[in-house]
């Protein structure tokens, strides 16, 4: 019976078995599996059949039994042991018997620990059934493997994140306003002092309104939607006086904004921590290694025949790509100086070209925004034309984000990088393009808002064109989000579906050239990160945006699932699950960083509008905080001032820098230690072999002198036996001795 433990020592029948090896302390330590489960493995030896190696090693272990005391508390749970179920059951019964010998206190502790563990397992099972979309993701995993699964679990994470942000916004900003009239609270509204800055012409439609006007309003957030909870301008409350305390809405609004950005940061970092640690410890080449592909490459979850075929071809492709990459590395190392100069020059030119393309795109976005803003001031000529002008920035951004990736993939082929680097570099360029386009839009909006006809603005912003500029920015973000959603749906219905029909039913050259749609994970991830960045920026101006975002991602999940199942095949260039999770979260973090910039600038720098919103009584939104602080009790105020003073800030900065340098140095040192230990391990292995050969040689010499006295063939037999006994490399050592004994 081939039990699992035979993994730990070499087979008796095999040619290179050696009882010496079994007795080595390192071999014995393998049996103990890291934790000091000495007594556990002792019992294991005792209860199983005696198929153990040499008697000497058994005796050695026998001594060990008496030495070590019972350390039941350090035993690994039964189910983590590599034995058959009957053996595990015997183990468990043995342990229960052991426990009976313990005192009542320890017995009670053991039983409570067991029942707690079982309770925890049942609880976790219940919790996992409540997990959103568990069944759908199971199906996707079975059909397409873990790479695409990571995309969908990322989508689920975003739905949850948006929902939590919405809950935050709702409970701290909207809920007090809603319940205030129902309780005994007294709300004070913002005073509009009648100056020119606080003039806010009403935007609700009056008189006879054509029906399509409502649709236009719904799609662009103007008209009847502008003065609702949807936009910043509606929150005109200054403070709510509850019987026990006063609830200051401006402060709450500001703090919730900072809170949701912080919460997103912490949640994403926590989620990416494990992938990040792994990436730090291993260097780049290792984790794409051949061993990883061979032993951890096949996805055991695949149950579908087509998926299995595709997985096989993707593995094949990966291996071929890796082999080619080795060849290219060799080629790069062999490059001459002249070739290097040519390549670098070409790369410079192409990068300049890329920069020029990006600049052109940004400029077109800028002009489109300005044109759109200008045309919104004039009365609409036509319903459709009006919508197009409203959505012009979104349309231009989407077009730019569609064309530039194609261009980048074309250009990178000329730059002659290694395939892995090509993918990453193209992705980085696309990420930059996507996120920077939002930045350009916001920048152009601000240039409009803060530029007045007379040079300097009396109210700090252009109050004639933008009496409530935050609502206007909120409307732009709202439009971007709606348009993004429409595009995702439209592309699925109008591009992917017909393509699938053409490929399936039509046998023309077009079908062959197009091929079936691939589910390109990087592009899809960029799409949803783009949407999330819009949500993060827009929530400050449009507090209901997270709710819209949650709904949007919820529907997008089903759209993407449907298109995946019906229209797509997995990408031939597979995305590894391990690195992809990390990649998604890194891109999301970049999006978050990008989102923080506009929000910070608008909170701290630009004067808030005087005609609407909660911050009417302050010049900038940030001013709420200093004012609140000045009303706090004296001790707390002094503490907060101390925190904000230069002395504290500088010393905090210096200490953080020191800590960072220390941690970086530590990581570098650990890496070096890991490399050294690896070399040492290899050396130890070689040492071990060498010593064992020498030992065999030394053992053989007295044996050979006995054998030479008997028959020659018996001597040769014992020689060959001895040769079989030691490793094949011992053959070389045996030869000199042969000549010595044959006199």
């Amino acid at each position: 019976m081939d039990s699992v433990d035979s993994v730990f020592y070499s087979d008796r029948i095999g040619p290179s078995s050696n009882p010496l090896l079994d007795q080595l302390p390192s071999y014995q330590s393998l049996l103990y599996r890291r934790k000091p489960t000495a007594s556990g493995s002792m019992k294991r030896r005792g209860s199983s059949r005696t198929r153990v190696g040499s008697s000497s090693s058994w005796k050695w272990k026998g001594e060990k039994v008496e030495e070590r005391p019972k350390t039941t508390s350090l035993q690994r749970p039964v189910r983590e042991q590599p034995k058959t179920i009957e053996e595990k059951r015997k183990d468990k019964e043995l342990r229960i018997e052991q426990d009976r010998d313990l005192g009542s206190w320890k017995l009670w502790r053991q039983t409570t620990r067991r029942s707690l563990r079982r309770l925890k397992e049942d609880g976790l099972e219940l919790l996992s059934t409540l997990q959103l979309w568990r069944g759908d993701i199971h199906v996707i995993e079975g059909m397409f493997g873990t790479g695409i699964l990571s995309y969908f679990s990322f989508l689920r994470f975003l739905v949850l994140l948006n929902f939590v942000i919405f809950l935050l916004m709702f409970s701290f900003v909207m809920l007090p306003i809603i319940i205030a009239p129902r309780t005994l609270a007294n709300t004070t509204f913002n005073i509009y002092d009648g100056s020119e800055c606080s003039e806010y012409p009403s935007t609700s439609r009056r008189g006879l309104v054509v029906f399509h006007q409502y649709i236009a309003d719904l799609l662009s957030g103007t008209g009847f939607l502008e003065e609702t909870y949807l936009f910043y301008g509606y929150y005109k409350v200054d403070a709510i006086h509850f019987p026990k305390f006063t609830y200051k809405l401006p402060l709450a609004y500001l703090l919730v904004t900072i809170a949701y950005l912080f919460l997103s940061l912490i949640w994403i970092v926590k989620r990416s921590a494990s992938g990040f640690k792994r990436n730090l410890v291993q260097d780049e080449d290792r984790f794409q290694s051949f061993c990883n592909k061979i032993f951890a490459g096949w996805d055991f979850c695949i149950t579908n025949e087509t998926a299995a075929r595709l997985k096989r071809s993707s593995l094949l492709y990966e291996l071929k790509t890796d082999l080619e990459e080795e060849r290219i590395k060799q080629k790069i190392a062999d490059r001459t100086r002249k070739e290097k100069c040519r390549i670098y020059f070409l790369r410079l030119v192409l990068n300049l070209f890329v920069v020029a393309v990006l600049a052109a795109c940004f400029y077109s976005i800028y002009r489109a925004t300005i044109y759109s803003q200008k045309s919104q001031m004039e009365p609409p000529a036509n319903f459709i034309l009006d919508l197009i002008y409203e959505y012009l920035p979104s349309i231009v951004i989407t077009l730019a984000n569609f064309i530039t990736p194609l261009m980048f993939t074309l250009i990178i082929q000329f730059e002659d990088y290694s395939p892995a680097f090509e993918i990453r570099f193209t992705l980085m360029r696309c990420v930059f393009m996507r996120l920077a386009s939002i930045g350009v839009l916001l920048f152009s909006l601000w240039s409009q808002i803060t530029s007045c006809s007379g040079g300097s603005c009396p109210c700090g912003y252009n109050h004639e064109l933008y009496p409530c500029w935050e609502s206007r920015v909120g409307q732009e973000m709202y439009k971007l989000m709606i348009f993004d959603f429409i595009i995702i749906g439209a592309v699925t219905v109008f591009v992917e579906f017909p393509r699938k029909l053409i490929v399936t039913y039509c046998d023309c050259g077009l079908a062959k050239w197009l091929g079936q749609q691939e589910f390109a994970i990087p592009q899809n991830v960029l799409e949803i990160v783009y949407g999330q960045t819009i949500c993060w920026i827009g929530t400050y101006y449009c507090p209901l945006l997270p709710a819209i975002s949650t709904l949007k991602y919820f529907i997008v999940f089903y759209i993407k699932k449907m298109t995946l199942v019906k229209n797509c095949r997995p990408a031939t260039r597979p995305f590894r699950a391990s690195s992809s999770n990390f990649f998604f979260l890194v891109v999301l973090l970049i999006g978050l960083a990008m989102a923080c910039v506009p929000v910070t600038v608008s909170i701290a720098q630009i004067s808030c509008s005087q005609a609407c919103g909660p911050f009417v009584n302050y010049t900038t939104s940030w001013e709420v905080v200093p004012q609140t602080v000045s009303q706090l009790p004296k001790g707390l105020r002094r503490f907060l001032f101390a925190l904000a003073s230069e002395a504290f800030a500088v010393s905090f900065f210096v200490i953080t820098c020191l800590a960072m340098f220390y941690v970086i140095a530590l990581a570098g040192a650990h890496k070096r230690v890991v490399d050294q230990l690896r070399e040492q391990l290899a050396m130890e292995g070689k040492d071990k072999r060498f010593l064992i050969q020498k030992l065999c040689q030394a053992q053989r010499t007295p044996a050979r002198s006995l054998g030479a006295q008997s028959h020659s063939d018996r001597g040769s037999q014992s020689q060959s036996g001895a040769q079989n006994y030691c490793s094949p490399e011992g053959v070389l050592l045996a030869r000199p001795s042969v000549s010595a004994t044959h006199v």
């Binding site: 749970p77 189910r79 590599p82 032993f295 490459g297 096949w298 130890e684 072999r689």
Partner: protein, 187 residues
Amino acid sequence: MGNKQTIFTDEQLDAYQDCTFFTRKEILRIHGRYHELAPHLVPMDYTNEPDVTLPLALIVNMPELKENPFKNRIVESFSEDGLGNQSFNDFVDMFSVLSEMAPRELKAIYAFKIYDFNTDNYICKEDLEKTLNKLTKEELSAEEVNLVCEKSIVEADLDGDNKLSFADFENMIARAPDFLSTFHIRI
């Protein structure tokens, strides 16, 4: 917990829950799957622990294993006789080790067994070649196969004997980030 089931006694279910990574409901479900592989062979009443084994050919046709290139080796590694005839205990043990909750060390031990085709407790070059051919259905050229196997051994072999012992294998698996997510079967 509240339902009266007559397949196992409560003690048996407890034992299974402690010896595997499954809950009671899952164990009953797995028994259902085992039963439907051969309804006339597998009794519904396991309270007196009948000695029933199912042959390799039946188990390997399960939808979870059908598309796996290593299905034969997996079933063989979890069988008592090494030929793939699994009792219910072996069956549930197999899925327990391959479930999400099993720790990496345990999975590594069984993965080593699975990839060791000639069961000599070393993954030698022939084992690697067989693994690779099963993975790619022999679509790599012989030279490429040779190159890949050589590179893998160079990467993972620490003690310099040109084959992977369990220590080498485990060390390599600890550095392979995909292992935990790919080496699992959902049932």
